[in-house]
């Protein structure tokens, strides 16, 4: 016979196993909740896919951007006399018109080389400048050119030995001024902004000179073409 003296035992036996029939809509509500839950999961998954694809795209974009930036040299370029020569030669090849006479070609080439070296020499160290100056001294431009060519090219014939010396002295002076200015700045306390500005100014000057030389050469070419 069952002992009914313990109330908690009765609670466990009677209430613990009791069943109460739910209303008719209970299952419909559960089904609806489940559908809503599935929709939420789907949306969440879609958002995750979107987020993942955006992240992948950004990753590839970043990688592409980094590689493109690496191709463009952002730092200061080391310029050597050999590289200058190479560049000058390459530019000569482009600059000399095909219709020019062999003598004319030689004059144009010399003129262009001089202009090019004049523009580049500003950023070169003193030893390099001296070397270039020495090479100028050894040039016998006027002596090598035939008189007919001189008549055809009035701009080129102006490049005489004296002129070369003057230009050389000018560049040496310019370089000396720069050196003095740099030495003065070294004694001052270092300032990032000032250094950056200085570098920018130097770069601007370099590119301006380069552009000017190209522009003058093109101008000459046009003149020759018009004359012909």
């Amino acid at each position: 016979m069952k002992d009914n003296s313990n109330l908690e035992q009765q609670l466990s036996d009677k209430l613990g196993n009791r069943s109460i029939a739910p209303t008719g809509q209970a299952w419909e509500r559960i089904a609806r909740n489940r559908e809503q839950g599935k929709d939420k999961k789907k949306k969440k998954r879609i958002y995750l896919y979107y987020a993942a694809s955006i992240a992948v795209m950004m990753l590839f974009g970043g990688y592409f951007f980094a590689t493109v930036n690496n191709d463009v040299e952002s730092g200061p370029q080391v310029v050597t006399s050999k590289s200058i020569e190479k560049t000058a030669r390459a530019e000569e090849a482009v600059a000399i018109p095909e219709f020019a006479l062999p003598g004319q070609k030689a004059e144009i080439a010399v003129a262009h080389t001089i202009t090019k070296q004049q523009s580049d020499v500003v950023n070169l160290p003193r030893e390099e400048v001296n070397l270039i100056a020495e090479s100028y001294r050894n040039l016998q431009v006027n002596e090598s050119l035939p008189p007919t060519n001189v008549a055809v090219l009035p701009e080129v014939k102006t490049i005489t030995k004296d002129k070369l010396y003057d230009q050389e002295v000018d560049y040496l002076l310019k370089n000396a001024f720069k050196q003095v200015a740099a030495d003065k700045q070294l004694s001052k306390p270092t300032d990032n902004t000032a250094l950056l500005k200085e570098v920018e100014a130097e770069m601007d000057e370099y590119y301006r000179d380069k552009a000017m030389s190209i522009f003058s050469l093109k101008n000459k070419k046009i003149r020759f073409a018009v004359k012909d």
Binding site: L7, E8, Q10, L11, K14, L15, N17, T23, I30, A31
Partner: protein, 185 residues
């Protein structure tokens, strides 16, 4: 002779659900909904709220059915979910309040051998404050230890014990007044 199995095991039904069979979901619901509503009703006085909690619990159980490891009984697992849902519901309505009282050993309430009706038992525990009732039901009906109750409710073991002490005391008083009323008749 072909044998038609009318009552598939819980495991078979659950596996069907996990394979996307929505009819199996209904089958599982039909099997346990009434029992689970009974569980929720022990904790929650209002039957409508108890049904809401049962629906919420069932939805959660079906959503997380993949986590059931078939190590214990499915009913026990489902029952545990319902208890947790009921506690969350009471907490959400700030009906669950536990006061610390001096612990004393109070023996289980003696009914004097009387067989108390189920509805009367429900009325008796409905009259108890939420905190007392929750601990009493968890301890006496669900069979949780004070340690488990303390963990589930986020209280200390002593608080759980004191709640049970208070619940028993009040039940004893209620039974005493009921006896007196019967004697007066």
């Amino acid at each position: 002779m072909k044998i038609i199995r009318l009552h598939a095991s819980d495991e078979a039904v659950i596996k069907k659900i996990l394979h996307g069979d929505s009819r199996a979901e209904k089958q599982l619901y039909d099997r346990y909904a009434a029992k689970m509503l009974g569980v929720c009703r022990m904790y929650i006085k209002d039957l409508h709220y108890a049904e809401d909690v049962m629906i919420q619990g069932f939805t959660r159980a079906l959503d997380n059915l993949g986590r059931f490891r078939f190590e214990g009984s499915f009913e026990g697992w489902l029952r545990r979910i319902m208890v947790r849902e009921s506690i969350d519901f009471l907490r959400g309505r700030t009906q669950l309040y536990f006061e610390d009282i001096e612990t004393a050993e109070v023996p289980p309430v003696d009914t004097g051998g009387a067989d108390i009706d189920t509805d009367l038992l429900q009325i008796l525990i409905d009259r108890l404050p939420e905190g007392y009732r929750t601990v009493l039901v968890m301890f006496a009906v669900e069979g949780y230890s004070h340690k488990e109750i303390a963990e589930m409710l986020g209280i200390s073991e002593n608080t759980s014990k004191s709640q049970l002490f208070k619940a028993r005391k009040q039940l004893q008083e209620q039974l005493g007044s009921l006896k007196r009323m019967e004697n007066e008749r």
